[in-house]
């Protein structure tokens, strides 16, 4: 009896999977690809950075220009992420919980930054706010400097990272529907009460997920920032731009040392993302 069931289950198990060789081949291919294109480059960054020892590595990081780049990157992310958090939540809330004209247009607009090359996004800002741009003369008359200055960098970063939070929340909130909100409304809750006590707790993990992705992009953005920053050392250089400058100066150890900071950020982001995904599934 036992043997019979055992053979039965093993045959049905075999029927559902591929032969051993195929399984090994597919897994091996996927692993080889991952190692070649992700692990090796990442390891190379750290190897290059530490080539001349820990002292050289450390010196590259505490050098004033590097510290200024770190500071500026943190400032840019510190401004653009909270703003996009507010924008993203409001946009998702409006799109999923209310009916209004022009909703489809709004959704398209939210996707725009994803569909436009970041360099183009930067150029648009130069065209608008640069000295030769449409608003340039007015801005310079009022002594406001956006392009080749920190405000310009913040603006393009906000533009480029705009979709992350909204895009994360819209499907989530759509799937949840409006029944819970309606129930809260019938029970006498005000708009704010509904938002903070019913809607937000249901999407909080989605919001955090969106913030993590938004932050990673805000700190790592190169193309758009590169166009509007002007690469002024110690003033308008973010971390990615600083890496590029050092590299172009053949200062490989310093370039890779600073790059490790961005690599660490990426790893941290992935870990946080994995932890959140685990949390959401429970």
């Amino acid at each position: 009896m036992t043997t019979k069931t055992a053979t039965l289950s093993s045959t049905s198990h075999q029927a559902l999977t591929e032969p051993k060789a195929v399984r090994w081949l597919l897994t091996g291919l996927a692993l080889a690809f991952l190692v070649l294109f992700l692990v090796v480059p990442l390891a190379a960054v750290f190897v290059q950075a530490l080539e001349k020892g820990l002292d050289a590595y450390w010196a590259a990081i505490i050098e004033p220009d590097a510290l200024a780049a770190i500071r500026l990157t943190l400032i840019v992310a510190g401004i653009s992420v909270p703003l996009n958090l507010v924008f993203g939540i409001s946009a998702a809330w409006a799109i999923t919980k209310f009916k209004f004209r022009g909703k489809a247009f709004l959704i398209t607009l939210i996707d725009l930054p994803f569909s436009v090359s970041p360099v183009i996004s930067g150029l648009i800002y130069v065209l608008l706010f640069g000295l030769q741009g449409w608003l340039g003369p007015w801005l310079s008359a009022h002594d406001i400097r956006l392009i080749f200055a920190v405000p310009g960098i913040v603006l393009v970063t906000i533009f480029v990272t705009f979709p992350f939070v909204a895009r994360q929340l819209i499907p989530l909130m759509q799937a949840q529907g409006v029944e819970e909100e309606e129930a809260a409304m019938v029970l006498g809750a005000s708009g704010w009460q509904i938002f903070f006590r019913v809607t937000m707790p249901n999407v909080i993990w989605g919001v955090l997920y969106g913030v993590i992705l938004c932050n990673a992009r805000a700190m790592g953005e190169f193309g758009a920032v590169s166009v509007v920053s002007g690469h002024i050392r110690g003033l308008t250089n973010t971390l990615p731009l600083h890496v590029e400058i050092l590299y172009n100066e053949y200062n490989f150890v310093a370039a890779f040392a600073v790059a490790t900071l961005l690599a660490l950020l990426a790893i941290l982001t992935l870990v946080a993302k994995a932890l959140l995904e685990k949390k959401v599934r429970h």
Partner: protein, 350 residues
Amino acid sequence: MGIQIQNISKKFGTYTALDQIDLTVPSGELVALLGPSGSGKTTLLRIIAGLETPDTGSIHFNGEVATQRHVRDRRVGFVFQHYALFQHMTVFDNIAFGMTVKPKAERPDKKHIRKRVNELLLLIQLDNMADRFPSQLSGGQRQRVALARALATEPKVLLLDEPFGALDAKVRLELRRWLRKLHDEIHVTSVFVTHDQEEALEVADRVVVMNQAKIEQIGTPEEVYDHPATPFVFNFLGHVNLFHCRESDDDQAVAIACLNGIDTGTVGYVRPSDICIRRNAEAADDIAAEVIFIQGAGALPHIELRRLDNGETVHAELPRDQYRQLGLKTGEQVFVHPTNVRVFAPNYQI
């Protein structure tokens, strides 16, 4: 609190959901809105709650106009088909929600809220589940929590949208009897939407049968079942056999079964339980038929027959003892005799 509904119409684009509805729900009654899907019953319920705005017409609560009043000021309790419980809150917090969102001046203190929630938990027989989350409850338990949550703010009107629609047959039956008992205890004016005629007939004081954006009939369960006003009501409240009437005597019942004469276009409606089956022809208008299917299980065995004259199918339901006595077999030839025939004006369509 009584509800008066006057001349309510609602369109969604070109689709008419409600067409000039008038309805009065007397204070303290339990009223069922019964109809097939798309008949407008849920829309009417949502308009009473204020979740939907009517295109025309007005809603009065106890004579006071409530049409412009915001949902949160209407003091209604609403129970959703899929419960709509707050997923991230415990059973206790779900029930307490309505009390905790009140403006500070009106909000009861914590002790009072606790007492009220505990009372309601006893009422719904879930007093040991206060700390559970909705995902840890069964469907029937969730719906009871939803009901307690709606009752917590002491609404003047309780509205239920297909409250048992998502539950399995047995839980449904238990829960609707429980709802009836509950209503007899607290007497809050209640309106519930259902597409299940059995549910409406068993639970409601009064049944409102709706079809295609209009009300077909309003009456007690006995009235709508025994004296349906339209063919639609007749058909919707149970199975039905159609007999085409022939022109002959003025007596309807005879006229219908009469095999001679010209088809007048009039249709007679007969419930399966009003069909007599016998082995020998006893009256001139008995119809010869062949037994084609027998479903003997259940309280009322179901027999399907084919008329020998025109090939139409006749459904009959017999009491168990009579069914046993007859000892019918498939393929046998018998005679059927319709009783209690209802005739409606010929221009009616189902």
